[in-house]
Symmetry: C2
Subunit: 348 residues, 2 copies
């Protein structure tokens, strides 16, 4: 390989910081392929009167979003996103989806055409009753190819180096080999596939299904119903991908990004937890989110709303009875029993 690849990480929250630990170590393990120094974009904040970037660069720890986990010293926190990405050959996008457009627009002019990206962003983009995948949005705006990574990856457990698996959808075999070297460790087992639609649809819709699992728990429906919700969720996710994006493969649902991530999200996770509390509270979902999440919005409820609007515009809500029930219970005050009602006698 002629040129050593420079990696930049765009984002530094809980997941971004956990992944920076892996990337920082892996580039050192492959000095023939990667440059050692890795920039990480940090949205500047003050912590105890100091810049978060300064703290990260001095203490090698993201004290705000991943406290207690030492980061490799070759990870450099940078507050300017253009400076972060300048000269990079690989961009790792790991930031909340609402920031994607603004960040990509500002990077447009500094990106070299041979740069590649990988998206760790969860969510689908809904605009004007149309929906797209974030990897495709990044490709469109920056004019570069974009892979994606998703799996049963609770950030804190990845940071603590507990064993887990993940799935990367790469556009070419060569890209796959590079991303495997950048992310794979003995405790973060990377599998490369070529179905980016499946990976992103799973990563996004699992949060909607987890709301359904939380409704189950809130109603004390038991394990049989919850297993039915997860199973139907898996099938609606697949149907959604096949119907609206074409290329989703059944095998992808057997990968970590598929069934494994769905199980983890429906077993724990805040989407499930908040939905269970919502059922028991008699309050609106907005109130509950305010109380439990300090004003943040759940990804699952937001996505449920957007998916529903999209399905309504296509006149296809009946084709996705589980996601439709979840939407109606959360946003239209439908009785929670609609969940089981909508699973009955619908053969999937």
């Amino acid at each position: 390989m002629a040129q050593k690849l420079k990696v930049a990480i765009i984002g530094s929250g809980n997941w971004g910081s956990a992944i920076s630990k892996i990337i920082g170590n892996n580039v050192k393990l492959h000095p023939d392929i990667f440059q050692e120094d890795v920039n990480m974009w940090v949205f500047q904040e003050q912590v105890d009167g100091k810049n978060l970037t300064d703290i990260i660069n001095e203490k090698h720890e993201n004290v705000k979003y991943l406290p207690g986990i030492p980061l490799p010293e070759n990870i450099h926190a940078v507050s300017d996103v253009k400076e972060t990405a300048s000269g990079a050959n690989i961009l790792v996008f790991v930031l909340p989806h609402q920031f994607v457009y603004k960040v990509c627009e500002s990077l447009k002019d500094v990106i070299s055409p041979d740069c590649k990206a990988i998206s760790l962003i969860k969510g689908l983009d809904f605009q004007d009753n149309n929906l797209t995948l974030f990897s495709e949005e990044i490709e469109k705006i920056l004019g570069i190819s974009c892979a994606c990574l998703s799996g049963a990856n609770i950030a804190s457990e990845v940071a603590e180096e507990k064993f887990g698996e993940t799935t990367i959808a790469a556009k070419t075999e060569e890209d796959g080999k590079i991303f495997e070297k950048l992310f794979h460790t003995p405790n973060f087992d990377v599998k490369i596939i070529n179905d980016h639609v499946g990976v992103e649809v799973c990563g996004s819709l699992k949060n909607v299904i987890a709301i359904g699992a939380g409704i189950c728990d809130g109603l004390d429906y038991g394990n049989n119903t919850k297993a039915a919700v997860i199973r139907r969720g898996l099938l609606e996710m697949r149907k959604f991908g096949k119907t609206f994006f074409g290329g989703v493969r059944t095998e992808t649902f057997f990968e970590s990004c598929g069934v494994a991530d769905l199980i983890t999200t429906c077993a724990g996770g805040r989407n499930r937890k908040v939905a269970a509390a919502f059922i028991n509270s008699g309050k609106s979902i907005d109130e509950i989110e305010k109380e439990m999440l300090n004003g943040q919005k759940l990804q699952g409820t937001t996505t449920a709303l957007e998916v529903h609007r999209f399905l309504e515009s296509k006149n296809m809500t009946d084709e996705f009875p589980l996601m439709t029930a979840i939407y109606r219970i959360v946003y239209e005050g439908a009785p929670p029993e609609l969940l089981a009602e909508n699973l009955r006698t619908r053969k999937f």
Copy 2:
């Protein structure tokens, strides 16, 4: 239909009693198809000085194995298995697998050739390093066709009429229609498929995978590892079915008998619980089973042992690294860390 079908239930434990509630009600809903009276074989026991059969027939409750749940009055407890099955057109086998041979042998002479069976038995039969499915054993001994039923069906929740799903593999479309009428209710959603191998392999091997999930929990490995164990378990179950039984279909793993039942068994259930305790105890699995199960054996550990002997005889233990790790940890004193070790770098 010329003749009304007479149904007999062979078995009356927790699951047998729960299913008798459904059958008793459903035959009354379809008087054009089924005879109203249903015999249920009860292994005779004394409860407070009275015959269990008498208690069931007087109180309409199986006070020993499903207390608190009223059974339909058209379910008749019978202590003689030949008498139970005499004249039956449909036999529902729902008894511990170790009794199957003896019971089938004793039924041989009383079964009419147009009788059909359905097996709710979990487990595979291993003899002389060979393994077979119980539905096929029943077919062989009795010379009649045998369907099977399995799903994410915790018996107590089915008995309480909480919503759940199940899967029936039927040999013909006509059989499927009859079994759907016999078992389907608004809260016990039956799906008919035609892959009996998939249904029975899932129903049996899920208990082995649940031992792996319990080892994870015992080691406090976290959600990412546990999701990986469940995912790999699903793939090893599929590979096992494909390698040794031919006809297993990928779609079957998306049914209730597949992913849903596996999730339920790995989330709760005694296989998982006992395995977690085993890891933390430093005692042998035999001791732990004695302490926790009153001398009963776990289905998961027994099946793990039998599967391992079978794989060894085929020289194929390396092809099933998860089930092999579970066996070695439970029976050979291998360090529990072998679980993650055997998942690493094996691409499934």
